[in-house]
């Protein structure tokens, strides 16, 4: 290995690998908790980042840069496997207004402070991919509806409706958990 290549690798390891846990966290969320797939995703993203390291501007936000690469890597795969749109079934739970269920039982939403992080994570993992991805991109990554639409190659209106339905499903799952644990009746 040349000295220059060695320096590049060391530099990359020092700057980029400190963000590995954050990348792995995002990869796990995107893949619905599939660890082997999440590890492969992080590896693909890290390799892409390493190959583009010369173009990374030192002093800018390395974590955000890596997150974007990982996100795009995942979405590219997702779009390849979802070449044909999957029709989403009518979902009576998702279409219920929030005045039902949890809102009626706990209008101030106190229960949300009592559920464990792991339950929220599990509820997200249980969402179908078409719903999970908009939630992660919008709620965890802070992307706008338009950015999510562009990434997923779907109309903005579909992003809105999937986010709405995903969040209602999550509320329903947390409500059921709250009932089970005696937080709400």
């Amino acid at each position: 290995m040349s000295e220059q290549a060695d320096d590049k690798r060391r530099d990359f390891e020092k700057e980029a690998l400190v963000h590995l846990d954050a990348l792995f966290g995002l990869a796990l969320r995107l893949t619905g908790g599939d660890e082997p797939r999440a590890q492969d995703l992080v590896q693909d993203a890290i390799l892409k980042a390493f190959r583009s390291w010369d173009r990374f501007e030192a002093g800018t936000n390395c974590r955000a840069w890596l997150m974007t690469i990982l996100r795009n890597t995942f979405i590219n795969e997702f779009r390849k496997t979802k070449a044909r749109p999957v029709p989403l079934e009518y979902d009576p739970i998702a279409d219920r207004p929030s005045s039902d269920g949890l809102f009626a039982a706990d209008p101030s939403g106190e229960m949300f402070d009592r559920v464990m992080d792991g339950d929220v994570v599990r509820a997200i993992q249980d969402l179908p991919e078409e719903f999970r991805i908009p939630v992660i991109l919008s709620d965890l990554q802070g992307l706008s509806y338009q950015e999510v639409a562009d990434l997923m190659d779907i109309p903005v209106g579909t992003v809105k409706s999937r986010l709405f339905r995903a969040r209602k499903r999550l509320q329903q799952a947390l409500y059921e958990y709250g009932v089970e644990m005696g937080y709400v009746r």
Binding site: A5, L23, G25, Q39, F103, P107, G109, I124
Partner: protein, 76 residues
Amino acid sequence: MSCDECLEVLYEFLDGELDSAERLRVRAHIESCAECFQHLKFEKRFLEQLRSAADHDVPSDSLRSRLLEVLQREAS
């Protein structure tokens, strides 16, 4: 703005997706409607919990050593 209209755009309001005119309309409605204000607080609390619970790092020790090997191979 009616309550139905308000509830329909509540997530867009919370997500910062409405233009300023629409934001003002929602805000005006919420200030005068206790029930929609309650809905707003409920959804806000839910989104805050969702974000804080799921957005965290996950230790990746075994992955680190695997990546170090991959990078070593890639650089050579």
